[in-house]
């Protein structure tokens, strides 16, 4: 098992990003830190998707003036494109809601903004 560590290093980096973002989402209370944690989770998943489709010594999968050699797999790159656009849309909606919460309650602690209670 020790020979997998220098080879699979991009997968380890993606797992580290996802693990740290789990810690942020469970244990932090500030709303802006939670939004940053969700952004970090998105980055970890995108890195994992692109690293799954790498072929050793490959070139970009575009036929215009490409040098000789094998080509990298194109389907994970298409999935990553869709994932990035969806993350931008979700982040825009989250930031809008934080702006409105701050204007109504004056506080961005997630335990103090339960105005539906009581």
């Amino acid at each position: 098992m020790m020979e997998y560590i220098p080879l699979n290093f991009p997968f380890l980096a993606a797992a580290l990003l996802v693990g740290i973002s789990f810690y942020i989402l469970i244990f932090k209370r500030n709303l802006i830190k939670l939004i940053m944690g969700i952004g970090m989770l998105a980055s970890g998943v995108n890195l994992f998707l692109v690293a799954l489709g790498y072929r050793a010594g490959g070139n970009a999968p575009i036929y215009t003036d490409v040098p000789e050699g094998p080509m990298v797999l194109p389907v994970p790159q298409a999935l990553t494109l869709t994932s990035i656009v969806i993350n931008v849309a979700v982040l825009a909606l989250m930031l809008t809601m934080v702006i409105l919460i701050y204007r109504h309650t004056g506080d961005i602690d997630s335990k103090k903004s339960r105005i539906l209670k009581g």
Partner: protein, 152 residues
């Protein structure tokens, strides 16, 4: 509103950013890029204008009605091209072989021809319109809300 030097430089730079973004959108079937990437470049140019001039000045040029028509027409062109080949399949590439965009390139590496690609260049344009209109409307709305105006 920032100083006069910043406003003059931003007025000159927006032309180059617009041309670079349109180049990335238009050559989406030959080089890396496409609709989403070129749209993001143009939106970054609009954000530069928003920082140099204040949001109240920019609201006089970018009406909400213009952005709404741009985004809806982008979505309608995309759906129209998807339904146009419905005789054989949904999303069938009906322009390959016809003289509009339908040449087939030589197999293997080689320089590209811009009249290839089927309906991919037209879909790149539709998605580029949608991204530019949508994201610049979101950025303008957030800036106007934070400074206390109403959007009407």
């Amino acid at each position: 509103m920032l100083s006069k030097i910043v406003r003059t430089v931003a007025n000159q730079l927006i032309l180059f950013i617009l041309i670079f973004g349109l180049y990335i959108i238009a050559h989406g079937h030959l080089t890396p890029g496409g609709g989403f990437q070129g749209g993001a470049v143009i939106v970054s140019g609009v954000v530069m204008l928003l920082v140099a001039f204040s949001s109240k000045e920019l609201k006089k040029s970018l009406h909400e009605r213009t952005l709404s028509i741009m985004e809806s027409s982008g979505a309608l062109i995309f759906i129209g091209l998807a339904f146009a080949g419905i005789g054989i399949a949904f999303f069938y590439n009906f322009l390959v072989g016809t003289p509009i965009f339908g040449r087939i390139p030589a197999t293997g590496p080689g320089p590209g021809d811009i009249w290839t690609g089927g309906f991919i260049p037209l879909m790149n344009l539709a998605v580029g319109l949608k991204v530019v209109a949508g994201l610049s409307a979101v950025v303008l709305a957030m800036a106007l809300f934070s400074s206390g105006e109403e959007i009407e």
